[in-house]
């Protein structure tokens, strides 16, 4: 069974997975808003509470992650930037250990050493980092490794539209194109790099246009549409697996929250966010699934329940876990 439109055919199981994963991701972030605020009220102090440090949430940007990860397998690599939760969840990162990492617990993916911007789950080949555009070359390297090993694995790297102006973006795409590597760069255009609007930072309307600078394929997804993202990703992944080289996909997406939690957001219109929330891609997909008869209200609720339960369990696990011992700070610099 599948959802079929003029442009795209999506198997129902994929569609359900996409919906469930978006819900999981959204609920994860909603829960994180609460957890992050603990200990930071009435006076906000970034270093206080069970989840301290910077916190960049992905609420509203779920379509980018699920639309392409629907085509990935465990052996495909994903690298992600400072706003990584939706990608990690869509790639199947161990949710308990990921959450525990954000709580700084020894059961976390990095034993509490990494934190929310530094999640590494080699089991599903996921990694992220806090330096803009720096994950792109890592994906190039993963794609190179796949080619060297003679596998049809692909490497996907997510970046924000702001990152597309960094030197590493250009170098990496050129290198991947020269070497014809199975690389896909997904540019999430959420209209801002912190406070700087795309218009003030980017000389070209959309970054898929920059594919011309590398003789590779480019694709654009408007309206934060998960189905269209699914479609162009399918083509890009096919291209990559078949040895036809890299693709740049840009997706118009929406950042419902501040750049990080605590961002006063003085640089954007008060009306902007309520407007964006009305376009919520999760609500839209939910409606579509019902209208198209893909799932009943009950089925959808059951997907939602499953997703939320997993998140709740992950937070419980994180909270119940132990902190590392202070002196463990000295371990893991080098492996033996």
């Amino acid at each position: 069974m599948a959802l079929t439109s003029e442009k795209v055919t999506i198997p129902v199981e994929k569609l359900k997975w996409m919906y469930e994963t978006m819900v999981k991701s959204r609920y994860f972030e909603d829960t994180m808003v609460e957890a992050y605020n603990e200990g930071k009220q009435p006076v906000f102090n970034i270093g206080a509470g069970p989840v301290p440090g910077e916190m960049h949430l992905s609420t509203g940007q779920e379509p980018a992650a699920v639309g392409i990860c629907a085509h990935l397998q465990k052996e495909d690599t994903v690298t992600s930037p400072h706003r990584p939760h939706h990608h990690a969840i869509a790639k199947g990162v161990d949710l308990k250990r990921m959450t525990a990492e954000m709580f700084g617990k020894v059961t976390g993916l990095g034993k509490g050493k990494g934190g929310h911007m530094h999640l590494f789950d080699p089991d599903v080949k996921f990694s992220c980092g806090g330096i803009i555009a720096a994950g792109i070359p890592h994906a190039v390297g993963a794609a190179l490794a796949a080619k060297k090993k003679g596998k049809d694995w692909v490497a996907v790297t997510f970046v924000g539209e702001g990152a597309a102006n960094a030197g590493g973006f250009h170098e990496s795409l050129n290198l991947a194109a020269v070497w014809k590597l199975p690389l896909i760069v997904v540019v999430e255009d959420n209209a801002y790099g912190i406070s700087v609007s795309k218009r003030d930072s980017t000389a070209v309307e959309s970054n898929d246009k920059r594919a011309a600078a590398y003789g590779i394929a480019g694709a654009y997804v408007a309206n934060n549409d998960p189905l269209e993202m699914y479609r162009v990703s399918e083509e890009a992944v096919k291209r990559a697996r078949s040895g036809a080289g890299p693709t740049i996909i840009e997706i118009e997406t929406h950042r419902h929250l501040g750049h990080f939690q605590g961002d006063p957001e003085l640089y954007r219109d008060m009306e902007e966010v309520p407007g964006l929330r009305k376009l919520d891609p999760i609500m839209k997909l939910r409606e579509l699934m019902i209208v198209e008869g893909i799932a009943t209200e009950e089925e959808i609720e059951s997907l939602e329940t499953t997703a939320k339960k997993e998140v709740d369990e992950a937070y419980a696990f994180a909270r119940e876990s132990e902190y590392p011992k202070p002196e463990e700070a000295l371990e893991d610099v080098f492996s033996k």
Binding site: V43, F44, N45, I46, G47, A48, P52, G53, E54, E101, G104, K105, G108, G110, G112, K113, G114, G115, M117, H118, G129, G130, I131, I132, A133, A134, G162, A163, N165, A166, G167, G168, G193, I194, S195, V196, D200, S201, T202, G262, L266, Y267, Y323, P324, K325, P326, E327, E328, A329, L330, V333
Partner: protein, 340 residues
Amino acid sequence: MEAVKKRMLTGNKAMAEAIDLEMERDPNVFVLGEDVGKYGGIFGSTQGLFEKFGGDRVMDTPISETAFIGAAIGAAAEGLRPITELMFVDFFGVCMDQIYNHMAKIQYMSGGNVKLPMVLMTAVGGGYNDAAQHSQTLYATFAHLPGMKVVAPSTPHDLKGMMISAIRDDNPVVFMFHKTLQGLGWMDQLDASVSHVPEEAYTVPLDKANVVREGRDVTIVGLQMTMHYALEAAEKLAREGIEAEVIDLRSLAPIDKETILESVRKTHRLIVADEDYLSYGVTAEISAIVAEEALYDLEAPVKRIAIPDVPIPYSRPLEQFVLPNADKIYREAIKLVNEE
């Protein structure tokens, strides 16, 4: 009048005020960097300037540190006086070539024929669980490389005075400000992040350490957070009859050897406390200066307190373990003074 003179400011407002005054005085001064405009700088260093001077003189940039720091160099070579911000010092690796191969060397390579009157300001420091890529100070990384003045003021008063000096200096100045000492509403509120700051423009030299507490028993050199920790430790030590002399290093390059040596010649004991990595760091340089130039004055081994050569971990107990603090300084001072 009295009230005006005792005006208290946070670190970030002191910095922004310095820039404001200099921008008013000299039309060649302008600011460029990420989020320096409407946002006012992630750490408030340009707060209010965009509203006052507009987007032509307070310029938001793309995330292109190589391009905009390089552009600052090119503009400075044409006689403008740019102030450019590297948001976190941790990001230096994407633009260090512009900083140290060009900003720092062009004056020298040109035989003094090109001047680069510019300021590179950047936020340093940890302690709020921002993990390995957003918590470093990298003091020594910059101070090791010749051709740039490198300063790290510790108080709102010095942030303003040294920023004005930096802007007026005809040489490139790396101006490191500590996030936690900016007095931002969303960070830990420290007394040290607020101080009396005169309203008018004034300068503080870029090459002088500051003896912030006199003492006879042990010299403690620190800068930014470790200077404040040293003061805290000194008070506790005083209660036990130990008088520590505390030096605020302030300037990493050029380093004010004389103030340090003079102090050690008096106290005969030295502790250096630093929020940078231990090896090849600030503690090394200061210890070496003393071992080379005041060895016979030392009555005990020097003691170095710094981050023990690990990346900065995220989790609170781990980060607290590796960071210097007042208690670590206090304990080492006690040991050192009791050393035979």
